[in-house]
Every structure is written in C-alpha cells, then in structure tokens.
C-alpha cells in the first residue's frame, strides 16, 4: 500500500432509491490501491444495495458520483465499469445454464483485457488459479453456477476476481454460507488480490472473515449510512457489543 497513492475508488454523496424508497442515504468512501475496507452492518441495512448499485444494477437509481482511478464512472453501464477495472463478487451469483465456467471466463477476460487471450495461455492461467483455490480442474467444464453449492459459487466468484485482476473489487457477503475450510481458501484469494494492489471493499455481516483478511479500515453501516469508521479494532468491538450501541439515535447527529 502506497501512502501517497491517489484513491483507486471513491464515491461521494451516494444515495440509492429502489422505487420510491431511499435505501442508501448519503455515502462517501475513498479506497487506495491495495487497501482493504470492510463495511459491516446488520441485515437489511442496505449494504448489498450499495454494492449492487455501485456496480450499476439497473434496478437501483443511484445519485452522487462514483470514481474509478479519478475518472467519473457513475453513469457507465456495468460492462464498461468492469472493463475499466471494477469488480463485484455477488452474494447470490446467478446460474447461466449451458455456458461453462471456462468459456464464460475466457469471454470475460478477453472483454476486460481488450484482446483475445490465446486458448493455451488462458487454460494454463485458469488451472493455476483454480489450484490456488483448491478447485477440481473438472470445475472449468461445469455450467456457470448451475447446480453449484453455496460454497462452490463463492469460490467461482473469487476465481473470477483472480482472473480478471480488477483495480477495485466489491465483495458482497462473500463469507456467508462457507464452512471454515472454504472460508480460509476464499480469504487466501482475497489477500492475493489485495497484494496485487487491488483496492477492496468487503461487505459483511460477521467478523468471521476478518480473522483471515485484515482490513485497513472498518465502516459501520446502518440504515443507509456509514455511522462510524475506524481501524480493525472497530470490527472486534462490533463482535463483542453488537450494533445496538451504534443506533443512529445513540450515536446522534451522524
């Protein structure tokens, strides 16, 4: 992490509405290259909405500005954001039956890198990353997320993170539904990406993942707002005391 670096990702005054309802009520964030931020908050606080809307999900209306490497990407469709180096690991990755993990990833890698990757080179890289994540090579031939277990889906999300090498990644509840071994593997992947200078924002409900991935900054997110930011110690405090002491009323005026 470079102390003098400019943020790889920032957002300012972000509000998100679903229909009539405002779910995210003003969020400002700045993430430096290689820096890991964690956003923690109770269920239903709007964390996933924030992650999806930052990536450009069409169901959410986002106002404010989102910048990637100093460039305003607020209004760009998700594929252009991806090609500029933004990534979202989904909480619930959807199945695309009939499309294998390998052919999908090759298309995605080609799209993001802006050039066709030779098949041989691609396969070599894919198999290496799959090995890092302790995945069976046969997985490459399975249909994308089709009939995958919760843990398999999350591993494939991290596999994509490692293959696409984004500048900034949002990880939405990537730790949910994982057993302890799978959690360690996923954490290994996240740490590998971070050491590659990818800036990261982990959206999570639990402290669990943070035993393996050490965030530089922790934000507490409640009722559509960041109510407190601090160092890693904040996560531990949340683990002990829960969220109640941070209710907007208790904090006052944030």
């Amino acid at each position: 992490m470079n102390e003098n670096a400019r943020p790889v990702f920032s957002c300012n005054g972000v509000h998100v509405r679903i229909g009539e309802k405002e779910v995210v009520k003003g969020v400002d964030l700045a993430v430096l290259p290689g820096e890991v931020h964690a956003i923690m908050g109770p269920n239903g606080s709007g964390k996933s909405t924030l992650a999806n809307s930052l990536m450009g999900h069409p169901a959410y209306a986002l106002t404010g500005t989102v910048e990637l490497g100093g460039e305003d990407v607020t209004a760009l469709p998700p594929d252009e954001k991806a090609r500029r180096g933004m990534f979202l690991a989904f909480q619930y990755p959807v199945a695309v039956p009939g499309v294998t993990v390998a052919s999908f990833l090759r298309a995605a890698v080609s799209a993001v890198r802006g050039a066709d990757v030779p098949v041989r080179e691609f396969r070599k890289e894919l198999l290496a990353r799959m090995e890092d994540l302790e995945m069976d090579p046969g997985f490459a031939g399975r249909y994308l997320n089709d009939g995958f277990s919760g843990g398999e889906k999350k591993r494939v999300e991290i596999l994509q993170l490692l293959m696409l090498k984004p500048r900034f990644a949002l990880l939405d509840e990537t730790d949910s539904g994982l057993d302890i071994d799978a959690l360690k593997v996923v954490a290994k992947g996240i740490n590998a990406a971070a050491s590659n200078d990818t800036g990261m924002l982990l959206v999570t409900h639990y402290q669990r993942l943070l035993n393996y991935v050490h965030p530089h900054v922790v934000h507490v997110f409640m009722d559509g707002r960041i109510v407190r930011s601090g160092g890693p110690e904040l996560a531990l405090e949340l683990e002990e005391r829960g969220y109640d002491w941070l209710e907007p009323a208790a904090v006052g005026g944030v």
Binding site: H57, D79, A82, P93, V99, S110, A111
Partner: protein
C-alpha cells in the same frame, strides 16, 4: 460451447452467405402447376418401373382430394399457390461422381456453401441435391466394400428396386397427410441408404439440399434402412436464395431400424425466409433399436415438421432433440411424435425454442401409448426463450395414454433472458449483445453438443447472425 462469441465475429448475413442465386439455366423443367401430365412426365423422364408410376398417380389423387390442414398456421398455409409452383427442375444432364465434372455454376454454389470441403474433412459419403436432382454423389470406397448402399433415391430405385419396393411408403403412406401425398406424387432425389447387418458406419453420411430457382418445389424422398445391429448417422443441411416469392420444400423421410439397429438423423435447416418447409419424417424402431432425430430449424418462413418414431419392438428407444429459432416474421411449428406400440419402449423429447422480434415458435407434439404397451417410459421437456415483447411461443402437447403401467411426463417452461443474468455477465465486462448471445448459446448447448464439431461451429455462427442487433 464450441466457440467463444465476440461481437467482432458477427459480420455477414444470410443474403451474402446463402442468399445468392445462379441464373436459372436448366436442362429440363416441367410447366408450372400440378396435374397427372406433370406426374407422368416426371415418371417417364426417370424411366421408372410401372408400380412407381401408378404409386405417383394414386398419390396425386389423394393430394387433390385431401383438404389443407385446419390446424397450425392456416393463414400462411393458405397463401401457398399450388398452381404457381414448378414441381420438377433438372439443372444438369447427369449426376457426377467427380467434383470437377459438376457444371461450373452448380459447383460454384456448393463451393460457396463449403460442401466439398466438408466432405474432404469428415464425411463418409456426400450427396448434393440442386433443385430436383442429385448433381453430385460420392461414397468412400471402404463403405462400398462393407456393403453399405448410399445412393440418391432415383438410383436406389433403379439399382435396388426389390428393397425400395418393399419399404417405400410403408412408414409414411401417401394418405398420411396432404404434403406427404404431394411428395409421393412428384418426389425426386433424396437419399437411399441400406446398412447391412452388424455394420457400423463410423463417420456420418451427408446430404446437402439447395433450392436455387424461384417458385419451385423440392420434394426429395429419403429412405434409410439399418439392418439388424447396424449403426448409421445421416446429416442433412438445406439453404436457398432469397427471392420475393416463395418456394416449397416438402420432403418425406422414412427410417427403418431393424432389431438392435441404431439410426441418428441430424438436420440443420437454414432455408431462406421465403421457403415453406413442410416435411414428414417418421421412423419405425424394431426390437432394441434406437432412433434419434436431431433437428435444428433456423430458417424458412413457415416450418411444419414433427419427426416421429413408431416404437414397434420391445425395448426400442426413440429420441427427438430439437431447437428452433424464429426470427422476425418466421413461424417455426415443430415438434415430435412418439408412438409406443410395444412394451418397455422408451422415448424422450427435448425441445428448445427461441422467438425473437415478431418470431413465433410452436411446439406441437404427440405421445401415444397403446394398450398393452406396459412398462413404457416417456418424457417431454420444452423450454422456450422469448426475446422482445412481440415474440410468441406456443406449446401444444398431446398425450394419449391407453395403458396404466407406464410413466409419462411432460414439462414446459417459458422465460425471457433474465435481468439478473444480464447484470451478472455485464458486471464481468461483457457488452449487452455479447451477454445475450452467451445466454442464448447456453440455452441451446444441450442441442449443440450432440452435433459433429463442424456443424456445432456452423450453428453457433448462425445463431450469432440471428441474434445480431437484438439489443434492447
């Protein structure tokens, strides 16, 4: 998936690839319209045996007496003007065995379509039909040595009259339907295949059908007999030029799988949108035989085609795997029929359709289990994908079950390309049209993986063309 699609690959269109046409300089053609004189002229020209001449005339009477179907796309069917069609057109004087000897214009056509290339690459035998007659035919020598007969139907009738007479019209009698009667009256060309006992044809046999002339009818007739324990895979492909007025393709295909035999019949139909494609295809599967129809319908204005298997012997198995792509203005009315006559017979129908723009795809099927055919199992699965709010899909399945000791299942699903799927793929950098194409390709993957490699690549390319400009 056989290839990774990218937008840059999308380029050509049907017009350029298949839609060209040659000048209509023909060796012989009958006058327009249908009459006993026309039937007589065709029979005479082919120097046929008397029984076939009589067969044709009887079939014409049946055709004239039978009403048009009152179901299906009756509006489009009613636009066929039977008097404005030329029923027999012969481009060349004789059939060639060497590609070099095929007349230049016809050769150019098939060259542009990549036929001899494909033959060199992976086919055991190939037959190319241009208008009414087969103009080129070649079979690998080892097949002939094995006793495999692969001829065009006219030669088959001349050289193996006893076999043809025994089986011709037994699976699909002339009276089966109006278009089968029409074909029986004016048929010309098509393939005749006989595979001897316990003989396996390891690589596919192929036929390629091309209509070049305007307002013409192609009525090929195919008869495939796989003797006991034999195994064969036959592939056909079809294209036609783009004309303002319509032509008619009405084939009859009869398959006979003897005890323990296995026949796979693959069609990639990519007729231009001015072709009526009204085809009757049916197989008889004897004891322990397996018949598979792999049927891809991409082209034509209206297709009505329901490949059937009559499961006549115990433990016979029938399968239909089909995809249909109905683009703007097209109606793919396709389906399958499984007739279970014997105990412990099994069948499976998988139908996938895509309707885009104003396209309409219909699945029309029949599963029938006769009383006494106990222990049968059959399952039907239809999936329809709709692209655009003017697209239409119909499912008309019929199950007639006269036996209690059976298991019959039918399932159908209709969906559109999911917003969540699109968002997921786009979040990985794929453009909207790339993402849509990927979802469509995934949707038809179960079909594509059953095709030989070259056909799979070709089909994916065709789908790419059809999907072009489908954004939004």
């Amino acid at each position: 998936m056989a290839s990774t699609p990218t937008v840059a690959d999308i380029g050509s269109d049907y017009n350029r690839r298949y839609g060209f046409h040659d000048p209509e300089e023909y060796f012989m053609r009958t006058p327009k319209g249908l009459s006993h004189e026309v039937v007589e002229a065709i029979s005479l020209l082919k120097k046929e045996p008397e029984w076939m001449r009589v067969f044709r005339h009887k079939a014409l009477d049946i055709f004239l007496a039978k009403p048009m179907p009152t179901w299906g796309d009756t509006e489009r069917l009613s636009s066929i003007d039977f008097d404005d069609i030329t029923y027999y057109v012969r481009a060349t004087e004789k059939q060639e065995k060497s590609w070099e000897d095929v007349p230049e214009n016809v050769k150019r056509t098939f060259d542009r379509l990549g036929i001899p290339e494909a033959e060199r690459k992976f086919l055991a035998g190939v037959s190319a039909q241009y208008e009414s007659e087969v103009v080129y035919h070649s079979v690998k020598e080892e097949l002939t040595k094995q006793g495999v007969i692969f001829l065009d139907m006219d030669s088959g009738l001349r050289e193996h009259e006893e076999i043809v007479r025994r089986y011709f019209g037994t699976v699909i009698p002339s009276a089966d339907n109006k278009f089968a009667a029409l074909n029986s009256a004016v048929w010309s060309g098509g393939s005749f295949i006989y595979v001897p006992k316990n003989t396996e044809v390891a690589i596919p046999l192929q036929a390629y059908f091309r209509i070049n002339a305007e307002r013409m009818g192609q009525f090929e007739r195919t008869l495939i007999i796989a003797d006991e324990g034999a195994k064969v895979h036959y592939i056909e492909g079809c294209t036609a030029p783009v004309y303002s007025s319509s032509s008619l393709h009405s084939a009859v295909v009869e398959l006979i799988a003897m005890k323990g035999a296995r026949i796979r019949y693959t069609t990639i139909q990519n007729w231009s949108n001015n072709i009526f494609n009204l085809v009757t295809k049916r197989a008889v599967a004897n004891e322990d035989a397996v018949v598979e129809w792999v049927d891809g319908n991409i082209g034509s204005g209206l297709t009505m085609k329901y490949p059937a298997v009559i499961l006549k012997g115990e433990r016979a198995h029938g399968e239909v795997l089909s995809i249909a792509f109905a683009g703007p203005g097209q109606h793919q009315d396709a389906g399958a029929k499984m007739i279970h006559l014997a105990p412990h017979t099994t069948s499976k129908i998988t139908s996938k359709s895509i309707s885009k723009g104003t396209g309409r795809s219909s699945y029309r099927g029949l599963v029938k289990i006769r009383n006494g055919a106990h222990g049968c199992k059959t399952s039907v699965q239809c999936d329809a994908l709709l692209i655009g709010d003017a697209a239409r899909t119909d499912t008309y399945p019929t199950m007639e079950i006269d036996e209690d000791q059976v298991s019959v299942e039918h399932e159908a699903r209709v969906s559109k390309i999911g917003d969540e799927q699109l968002f997921y793929l786009r979040s990985r950098g794929l453009k909207d049209d790339q993402a849509r194409l990927m979802i469509v390709n995934g949707f038809i993957e179960p079909f594509v993986k059953e095709l030989p490699m070259e056909y799979a690549v070709e089909l994916n390319r065709l789908i790419e063309l059809e999907m072009e400009g489908s954004v939004g």
